[in-house]
Symmetry: C2
Subunit: 414 residues, 2 copies
């Protein structure tokens, strides 16, 4: 027995506080996952503007036209020839009324004025608009101009907003209403946007039951399918199917084959630990999977693989571990691929001391208020209800065992 | 003529820099719009968890069960009776293997151990788990326990995360993956969420053409339909229809009647100014509309009405004016009704001086970088392409005509 007991990689009695040499650093596993997922070939698709809000441009969009499209009036008022109103008051006959409407207005002759609405085309001949505020009504339908104008006053020139061929929106733009307005104003009816990654989510575990159904003794509700699906969608991916399997190799193999046939990426939860029934690990390891123990808590057991060319990212099954794993490992690369802004860590101040285990980077659940953060849950990876009350993960470094109240800590917003 | 010229509310020659008494303050119009829209009766609807991400709970949700549902193991290891391992090493026969799977395990007898997986039910009789790391294999399939355990060690008790009847998620919660995980883990399959306001968007203007189609002289592309629809959706509303009408009363009346029949709220753009063809104003004013000039730029002409009990909020038609009007007047109340977090103004530093007109609160388009802001567009309300490059509106107070570089200014994020 004692030879087993003292073997270097025995599971027995690791001296307290010493990092197991076999554990991988969190940052290294972040890179492993990012490299795998970054290799996925992303596509783009054309969508009408009405469906483009919140999507990300796959290419720069240039304006096909000058904006404004034509010389138009900045004000409700009168189109005039500026040299006709150098001396005021000046009474001019009103020879036309020009609305913002289809059609080209008649040429404005010398010594005349045309009533004009905001946005309406400035008639040829006219070179200035007199705002209605600076006019009064004259006799016989004429207008009295009360203020001189310079040539060009209150006239919007074509191309003064954007010129044909100029960039309206760069590639990688998360399309907001203001971008859609610019595209629409330029006459663009649809836009090339990044296609979301197609993802299949597999939850493994003989004990899992769909929420809303009765549970038998020993069963628990499957929280990972809905939580990981929502997290993937939030990160710009499209969940095309969710599958749930028991802890037996054959059903998991069937689910996996189906998943890699239709997805760009497969995300699994459960079955990657060191227990006796670790179906994900048991099926993926012979396929060359990278099964590893990451030096973090929760979420230590992790696994990545490529099956039929499709990356498979496997998280542990505890709901808290799965969510933390997603936020730490998968969210950054998915958001980058989707063109979404990164979620950056924020430095805040602890309201109360925290303890942590040596040798593992710990992600405690916390709530921020102003520039400070409070821990809202114990460290247990089963505390899924407690995690609902959190809005961030405190990032407690591997080598830290205690932080005092008032200490600065980085948090990862959820 | 001079009596007209000098009449108190004449449109002629208002002295430069003096606020027209008839103009309404921005904050007052914000209140007018908020009061009208807040009166809309909001409903809730039940959606399955898979469709609840990003929705807002209409009521608090309590857990119908204890979580964990049953006593289960926190580790892969061996279930024991703590008093059997007070002296170690202790060799115990392994009488069962308990997986995380349906079914109740057999009672553990004195002096025995059961191999147990993380999450699996702790057998009756056992009161502690020995993690596998603190065990070695014994003779004849027995286990050698290398470390003593206290009663309760590594056992997750029912209700230690949440108790039946306790609140899982408060009313008004914007549902994120972590909330869905907690609801799912408690067996909840669907959730009551706030129904979005049904909105019809009407764009008026004889000159408007759908993007993607050819324009004739005098026509311009309709940017407001797509931009306001996207802005409404971002603010938690549901655009049920968009209508476009020319500047004639009858078509607008038809559109309006259709809109108020199906919507909780109608938003229009165009036709509220002082020109000769102001169809929205012309139709709504006889119905008791509040047509007003707000002391701001862009977006001065504003109108609100109640038609058949439905609030109608009318913005000017210039695309920049319409977007600024939405962000200033409608977005705050819509987000509040939808349960979305408010978008708060932020104080930043100007990188370059700005000029502004006296008597009007000006919303200049800017881009933030760190704690500073730069203006990215002229003040013209037609500069829709330039606005695409902005990410915030600088809020220049009514009485300010100039701010120097380095001055602090509030910006409203877009």
């Amino acid at each position: 027995m004692s030879d087993v007991h003292h073997a270097p990689h025995s599971r027995a009695h690791p001296p307290q506080g010493i990092i197991d040499e076999g554990r991988r650093a969190v940052d290294e596993h972040i890179r492993v996952v990012a490299d795998l997922v970054s290799d996925v070939v992303t596509f783009s698709e054309r969508v009408p503007l009405g469906h483009a809000s919140g999507r990300v441009t796959a290419e720069a969009v240039v304006s096909p036209v000058d904006l404004p499209l034509f010389r138009n009036s900045q004000m409700d008022g009168f189109a005039v020839i500026a040299s006709d109103v150098t001396s005021v008051p000046a009474t001019l006959p009103v020879t036309a009324t020009i609305a913002a409407a289809p059609g080209a207005p008649e040429i404005l002759g010398p010594g005349a004025a045309a009533r004009i609405m905001t946005g309406a085309p400035v008639p040829q001949g006219a070179d200035a608009i007199v705002p209605v505020e600076y006019t009064t009504e004259g006799p016989d339908g004429s207008v009295v101009i009360e203020r001189t104008q310079q040539s060009g006053d209150y006239v919007r020139e074509p191309g003064s907003d954007v010129r044909a061929g100029d960039e309206l929106v760069p590639a990688g733009t998360l399309l907001a209403p203001r971008h859609l307005a610019a595209l629409a104003a330029s006459g663009i009816g649809d836009v090339e946007v990044v296609s979301p990654l197609r993802v299949v989510v597999i939850s493994s575990g003989a004990e899992l039951v769909e929420p809303g159904h009765p549970v038998l003794p020993g069963q628990v509700y499957d929280a990972n399918t809905v939580a990981l699906s929502a997290a993937l969608t939030e990160s710009g991916a499209r969940v095309v199917e969710t599958l749930r399997t028991v802890d037996e190799a054959e059903p998991f193999r069937v689910a996996l084959a189906r998943a890699v046939a239709e997805a760009d990426l497969v995300v699994t939860s459960g079955g990657v630990s060191k227990g006796a029934f670790e179906v994900v690990r048991d099926v993926l390891e012979p396929l060359g999977a990278d099964v590893t123990e990451v030096a973090m808590q929760p979420g230590g057991p992790q696994c990545t693989a490529i099956v039929e060319g499709v990356p498979v990212i496997s998280f542990p099954g505890n709901p808290v571990s799965a969510q933390v794993s997603f936020a730490v490992f998968l969210r950054p690369v998915l958001r980058r691929l989707a063109g979404l802004p990164p979620i950056e860590p924020v430095a805040v101040t602890l309201t109360a001391p925290v303890e942590s285990v040596a040798g593992k980077r710990q992600w405690l659940r916390g709530v921020r208020a102003g520039g400070s953060v409070s821990v809202v849950s114990g460290p247990g990876s089963h505390l899924v209800a407690a995690m609902a009350g959190a809005d961030c993960l405190l990032d407690i470094p591997e080598d830290t065992t205690r932080l005092d109240a008032g200490a600065t800590v980085e948090v990862l917003p959820l």
